[in-house]
């Protein structure tokens, strides 16, 4: 398996090796146009996201027009055409979190990570998303990073949390 990586020129390299999903289709899904969603789920779990060329590969393998595949991918919010970061930050914007400063956290993250909602940082560390109530209203404003919930977050606290993750990455690298 090979994931796309950011090249030195800043352009995203093209995913080219689809052998793994190709083998899975050949084993389980030959001629199964009706299994498109299953195949897309599997592909996203392997490659992390569904770039255009992967959708084209799946379309040809299953003999489905690529416009139909991209139609399904763009319909379901679970599917992503963008590369995902190592960690997913979800800022809760449910009512309680919103009134207690969730919006401010979103603005702060925008500036701190220099990306918009739904995007991934250039270093591939974070993907920034919004959640609608994570059931932690008593801890508002709350954010989640992967499966960890952080409570009563302030911009300052957020900076130190982000620093922790960055440090962790540094340690792993070393």
């Amino acid at each position: 398996m090979k994931l796309a990586e950011t090249q030195s020129n800043g352009k995203e390299a093209v995913l080219t090796d689809f052998k793994e999903i190709g083998n899975i289709i050949d084993t389980f899904y030959v001629g199964r146009r009706d299994c498109l969603i299953n195949v897309l789920h599997t592909a996203q779990s392997i490659y992390g996201y569904l770039p255009a060329e992967l959708q084209r590969f799946i379309a040809e393998k299953l003999d489905i027009p690529v416009s139909e595949v991209s139609g399904v991918v763009s319909f379901y919010s679970f599917f992503s055409m963008k590369k995902r970061g190592l960690h997913t930050i979800r800022v809760c914007l449910g009512t309680a979190c919103y009134v207690r400063g969730g919006k401010g956290l979103v603005d702060h993250l925008r500036k701190a990570l220099k990306i918009e909602i739904g995007d991934t940082t250039a270093d591939g560390l974070f993907t920034f998303e919004i959640a609608r109530c994570i059931g932690a209203c008593g801890l508002a404003p709350a954010i989640m990073i992967d499966d960890n919930v952080y409570q009563q977050v302030t911009p300052a606290k957020l900076d130190s949390i982000l620093a922790e993750y960055k440090e962790k990455k540094g340690v792993e690298k070393a």
């Binding site: 990586e5 390299a13 080219t16 060329e53 084209r56 489905i64 027009p65 690529v66 416009s67 991209s70």
Partner: protein, 665 residues
């Protein structure tokens, strides 16, 4: 039979028919929008809702089958109110600038509003994307789309090209190509069948009428017009004539009144095509029978939508295509060479306009191959629909026109050319000439119609044996030509799969990109008549039988043209002017740099997808084409070279040391 009541009327209907159909059979019209009889019934617009007693909600009549004892109301208050709300909701996200829309007064949405008695639109709110996406052939105006999905059905099920599909979700839904690519950079064949079924102005041919008006009004230009065979059997419908009325004479008169300097007939060039294509086929057949290498089956090349399709989908098989240009581009090439010389006008001052039943022809003339001496063979293409608009706009009363003929010398044609517009026609025309050239006898069919390939079936086949051949064609004695004819790209896909598998049993194949052939091409009048193909087909064969010459090689104008200009079919001059080459494009146009997008002011082409159409996953050849890998491979090769140099140096030093060591001893 099923018995039910509609609006208090007892009705018996066949099992399985929908309420909509049962009502129609009994002269009850239910208003509808998305439904298209025999093609598309998905119940997406809900306009055709009816009240079924006992049902919880209103039912879409176009998808609800009749049932025994059903009691249906199609015009009750609850139904009428519901339809009004549905219609107003449609309008709330529809660009209602009808006065500037080319579907004004023949728009199904407009007509429906009148039918429902709508005089206000109560809902206003956010509007969805208002992008215009123009290619050289087809223009999409997203602000006008009502998401009825007729185009989706035609593109995916009938043509099986699969370019148009719903993208995104809910309010953001658009019908379009994958990844929101502009249609001009996708693998669209430009067949235009979507423009025929679109009920509103969302899908249409890209306008060329303005350019044609400009040409007509430019006194420094000699403006030559030509008209395709299928236009004369359909244009009458746009002036109130019943379907299947032949209007050849009126058409020629109308073009003269519009101000064209020369009014020629593409049929003349169709006869020329037969001479060239027939000769080409005989050449290939000779090579095949003598054991020389050749490519068979040979496939006709008159339909530019088909050409674009094969270039996108079967780029490895382009050698099967006849090298003949399509008739109207042949005509253009002849006008700007032979005719220009004859009338003493510089080809740069000639503008050739083609009136075509086709949207793909608008793309064809922009191909870089369709040029001679630096000038495009044809400058503008207008569809049958566009010509009718121009005639109306000029204030010409079509019905009161007297018949006239096309101008000489490029206006005389045979019946063989007349049938170019219908599926099976090009093949029949070719056989009429080829058979007679080879055997000296007429084609052995009643009235010269090759009956097995006449009709609207998807794939038709026949075989014809050459017997008692003339001495120069003795190599064909006993040779049985196997032919196939298909109309619509779904049929082409089947035949091409056989060709690529090596299982195709045929020698000669005719493909027309549109179902039925040019008679129901993408530029033809929109019709809801389910028998439209039969009617226009019948008129086409009548046109053929009405003409004094029935075979292309008997057309005296063509005989004279070869004598005085071309010398011989497939000769050097023919090759220069009348034959062409094809372009490998690939499923995502990744094999070519050509693009057919037109920028519309105020509607930027999304730059995000600039690179996208060129991307294709690496084929399973073991090679890896990602730029990163290539970079690494190059680096690796360089390092290996350096390593080799170093090892050689080490080896030299080692030898020196060994030598020194030995001499010291």
């Amino acid at each position: 039979m099923v018995h039910l009541t509609i609006n208090g009327k007892d009705i018996a209907a066949a099992e399985g028919v929908t309420i909509f159909e049962a009502a129609k059979q009994n002269s009850i019209t239910i208003p509808s929008l998305c439904n298209l009889e025999g093609i598309h019934s998905v119940g997406s617009c809900r306009i055709c809702v009816v009240e079924v007693e006992g049902a919880k909600t209103l039912q879409a009549s176009c998808v609800t089958p009749v049932a025994e004892g059903m009691v249906v109301h199609t015009n009750s208050k609850v139904v009428r109110d519901a339809r009004k709300v549905l219609y107003e909701l449609l309008l709330s996200d529809h660009d209602s600038d009808c006065l500037f829309c080319n579907r004004n007064q023949h728009c199904e949405l407009q007509k429906l509003g009148r039918q429902l008695g709508i005089y206000e639109s109560r809902f206003e709110g956010e509007r969805s994307e208002r992008r215009i996406d123009s290619s050289v052939a087809i223009t999409r105006d997203l602000s006008k789309c009502v998401l009825c999905r007729r185009c989706v059905t035609v593109c995916n099920e009938i043509q099986q090209v699969g370019i148009l599909n719903p993208q995104h979700r809910g309010f953001k839904t658009v019908i379009g190509p994958s990844f929101d690519l502009p249609i001009g950079s996708d693998a669209c064949s430009f067949c235009g069948q979507c423009t025929v079924v679109c009920p509103v102005g969302a899908l249409k041919e890209t306008d060329s009428t303005q350019a044609v008006w400009d040409a007509i009004n430019d006194s420094t230009k000699r403006v030559v017009v030509q008209v395709a065979p299928a236009v004369r059997v359909s244009i009458g419908e746009l002036f109130g004539y019943p379907a299947g009325t032949r209007c050849t004479g009126k058409l020629a008169s109308a073009l003269k009144e519009l101000g064209f300097d020369d009014v020629f007939d593409t049929d003349w060039a169709a006869d020329l095509t037969i001479m060239e294509e027939g000769t080409e086929f005989l050449g290939r057949a000779k090579k095949a029978t003598s054991g020389e290498g050749t490519v068979l089956p040979m496939i006709t090349s008159c339909s530019p939508g088909w050409i674009k399709y094969i270039e996108n989908h079967f780029p490895k098989s382009l050698e099967h295509l006849s090298t003949c240009k399509s008739p109207h581009t042949m005509m253009g090439a002849v006008v700007k060479s032979f005719y220009a010389k004859k009338i003493g006008v510089d080809p740069k001052d000639i503008i050739v306009v083609s009136v075509m039943p086709c949207t793909a022809k608008k793309f064809e003339i922009r191909r870089p191959e369709m040029k001679n001496g630096g000038y495009p063979n044809v400058d503008e293409v207008i569809t049958t629909r566009e010509l009718a608009e121009m005639i109306k706009s000029a204030g010409i009363d079509f019905a009161s026109l007297t018949d006239s003929s096309f101008h000489k010398p490029l206006g005389l044609s045979s019946g063989a050319a007349a049938i170019f517009g219908v599926t099976g026609g090009v093949m029949e025309a070719a056989l009429r000439t080829v058979y007679e050239l080879v055997t000296g006898h007429e084609l052995p069919y009643e009235n010269l119609h090759v009956t097995p390939i006449v009709g609207l079936e998807q794939i038709k086949e026949a075989s014809i044996k050459f017997e008692n051949t003339l001495p120069e064609f003795s190599f064909l004695e006993g040779f049985e030509v196997k032919i196939a004819v298909t109309n619509g790209l779904a049929g082409a896909k089947i035949l091409m799969s056989q060709v690529e598998d090596g299982t195709s049993p045929y020698h000669f194949i005719e493909v027309m990109g549109c179902p039925g052939g040019c008679i129901t091409g993408g530029g033809q009048p929109r019709s809801k008549d389910v028998d439209i193909r039969e009617k226009r087909m019948k008129a086409t064969y009548e046109e053929d039988e009405s003409l004094p010459f029935r075979k292309s090689h008997e057309n005296p104008s063509i005989i004279e043209f070869y004598k005085s200009f071309l010398i011989e079919p497939n000769g050097p001059l023919s090759h220069e002017l009348l034959h062409t080459v094809y372009t490998k494009r690939g499923l995502y146009n990744e094999l070519t740099d050509e693009e057919y997008i037109i920028e519309t002011p105020g509607h930027a082409i999304p730059k995000t997808f600039d690179h996208l159409s060129k991307i294709r996953f690496a084929e399973d050849s073991g090679e890896d084409y990602s730029s990163q890998v290539l970079e690494l491979k190059a680096k690796n090769a360089k390092l290996m070279d350096e390593l080799k140099d170093t090892l050689e140096t080490v080896e030299v030093f080692r030898r020196i040391i060994v030598d020194m060591h030995e001499s010291n001893r």
